[in-house]
């Protein structure tokens, strides 16, 4: 495992996890996590930390176990090795209460209107229909979906569906956001728009976020920090802090800046290296 930090970011192999971390500033920590499906090893010795309010993007090739990593953190599956803590809590059932997970497929219920899909988590946690709808409706308006709150999922474009799913995730009211390839299913132009929109929204929300993607550019654009995973069994092969100065609301300008291009080059290099071995 190699830790390369561009800023003064702690490298992956530095310092023992759980003990050394300050419970207040570290929202998510996974230490030496391993996972296998039967004899198939999906993750090996993965250690990651996310500070409160930080967005960590995890990028890796298909099948490297990055989705599994999110599910492990969410408490939806059990690691076969290592320990995971979310907000200082390690038991899977309790982690579940502290994570808002957004699966790769939007998972919208086709028989519910956008507003009721967004309110699903609120309803399931026992909040009355009217209040749940009201809160969902406020959020949908804020996410630019005000006109579509009464639409059914089949009436929405792929990008809108993702945003409704994201609203549902935000409203789940659980601390850490775990986003699994949120834009994998939409076209390239919509995808770029959604990335701008998501970064803006995440900044406003200030929620700790772990985001999984197979797109290096997306990871660098959205993440405060970027981790590169090797192919199965997934291992962290690169841990970098993405460029913090992000003045531009112009995505194209930022993505084409020399700093960004250099980062992308190095990330891809790491990825290619990991794929070869």
């Amino acid at each position: 495992m190699q830790g390369i930090s561009l800023e003064a970011a702690p490298s992956a192999e530095s310092a023992a996890p759980s003990e050394a971390m300050e419970a207040s500033s570290i929202a998510v920590s996974a230490s030496s996590v391993g996972h296998s499906f039967g004899r198939l090893e999906t993750l090996r010795d993965v250690s990651i930390e996310a500070a409160r309010g930080e967005t960590v993007a995890i990028v890796g090739p298909s099948g490297c176990g990055k989705s599994t990593l999110l599910e492990l953190i969410a408490g939806l599956a059990q690691p076969t090795a290592g320990e995971i803590a979310v907000a200082g809590v390690t038991a899977a059932g309790e982690r579940l209460d502290r994570c808002a997970w957004m699966p790769q497929r939007d998972g919208l219920l086709p028989w519910r209107r956008a507003v009721d899909n967004a309110a699903l988590g609120l309803r399931l946690s026992g909040i009355g229909r009217r209040e749940a709808r009201e809160r969902a409706s406020v959020l949908l308006r804020r996410l630019g979906l005000g006109e579509f709150e009464s639409s059914y999922p089949r009436e929405l474009s792929g990008g809108m569906r993702q945003r409704v799913a994201f609203a549902r995730t935000l409203l789940a009211g659980r601390g850490v956001l775990l986003l699994d390839e949120p834009f994998a299913a939409v076209d390239a132009i919509t995808r770029a728009d959604l990335q701008v929109w998501l970064r803006q929204t995440l900044r406003e929300e200030g929620r700790t976020t772990l985001l999984v993607t197979h797109d290096v550019e997306e990871a660098l654009y959205l993440g405060d920090r970027v981790l590169v995973l090797s192919p199965r069994p997934g291992q962290v092969v690169w841990d970098a802090t993405a460029p913090p100065p992000r003045p531009a609301e112009d995505r194209a300008a930022e993505v084409n800046s020399p700093q960004f291009v250099e980062l992308r080059r190095r990330a891809l290099e790491r990825l290619a290296e990991a794929m070869r071995t």
Partner: protein, 262 residues
């Protein structure tokens, strides 16, 4: 404009046209005696469509009376199977242990030929409507249970995990996600069931009855003069099954308005 209206017209017209052609051919074949000689039968055994239509009209009151009896049996038996089938499917879905134990029995229940069961039920439950309902329910039960059970398992794994991550327990996941997902499958099962229900009714009536279309057929079968009415009974019976099937298809479109999986 979309080509929808034209397509819809075609889907209605095409089968009507085909049926019309077949009936026309049948009529001609009967009138010329070709059909009877082809089958090696006396002409009065092979009624023409016109003769059957005449019987439908002239015997309308006796046909309607007996059709009403059969329809009631079918509706009652189907309803019993629907309620029991859906409840059992839900229970088996929620309890894998029970499912492993009970499912083979459900399958086994289908391997007993209904024609053998019918007289036994009549001996047990008498000549009333009871044994008919039991037989029809037994026939309808299987497709409803199997399809509903399949449907309940169709919710994507991601969606089930999502429900769990949103704090839903087993039961809430069932009512919020799995039950609506299973609805189109339930309808598939119900449509198959209702189509075979009339067969169950006829077997039930053959095993012992004093009214119903099956009974009327038994009554007419040995009588040479009643061959057209025998055919008329068959016609009414199959019209009944088609109407019930169509009613369910309509209900499905109403209740599963979001359309099943894309």
């Amino acid at each position: 404009m979309s080509p929808a209206p034209r397509t819809r017209l075609a889907t209605v017209l095409a089968p009507l046209l085909l049926v019309g052609l077949l009936i026309g051919a049948w009529q001609i074949a009967s009138d010329t005696g070709a059909l009877a000689s082809l089958l090696g039968l006396e002409p009065f055994f092979v009624p023409s469509p016109a003769e059957i239509a005449t019987s439908l009209w002239e015997d309308r009151s006796i046909l309607a009376e007996n059709a009403w009896v059969t329809l009631r049996e079918v509706l009652a038996g189907f309803s019993v199977a629907l309620v029991l089938g859906v409840v059992l499917a839900a229970i088996l879905h929620l309890s894998p242990v029970l499912r492993r134990a009970v499912y083979p029995l459900v399958v086994a229940s289908q391997t007993i030929p209904i024609i053998v069961v019918a007289p036994i039920f009549v001996i047990w439950f008498g000549f009333g409507i009871g044994p008919k309902i039991a037989i029809i329910a037994l026939i309808c039960f299987f497709p409803i249970v199997v399809n509903t059970l399949d449907g309940l398992a169709q919710a994507p794994a991601d969606s089930s995990r999502l429900m769990r991550s949103l704090g839903a327990g087993r039961l809430r996941t069932f009512t919020t996600l799995e039950a609506p997902t299973a609805l189109p499958y339930l309808f598939s099962g119900a449509k198959i069931a209702v189509a075979v229900a009339v067969i169950g009714a006829v077997f039930g009536e053959w095993a012992g009855a004093s009214s119903g279309l099956g009974y009327l057929m038994l009554l007419d079968a040995p009588q040479v003069g009643q061959v057209p009415r025998l055919f008329a009974s068959v016609f009414v019976l199959s019209a009944m099954a088609i109407a019930l099937f169509a009613a369910l298809a309509l209900a499905e479109r109403r209740l599963v308005w979001w359309g099943s999986e894309r």
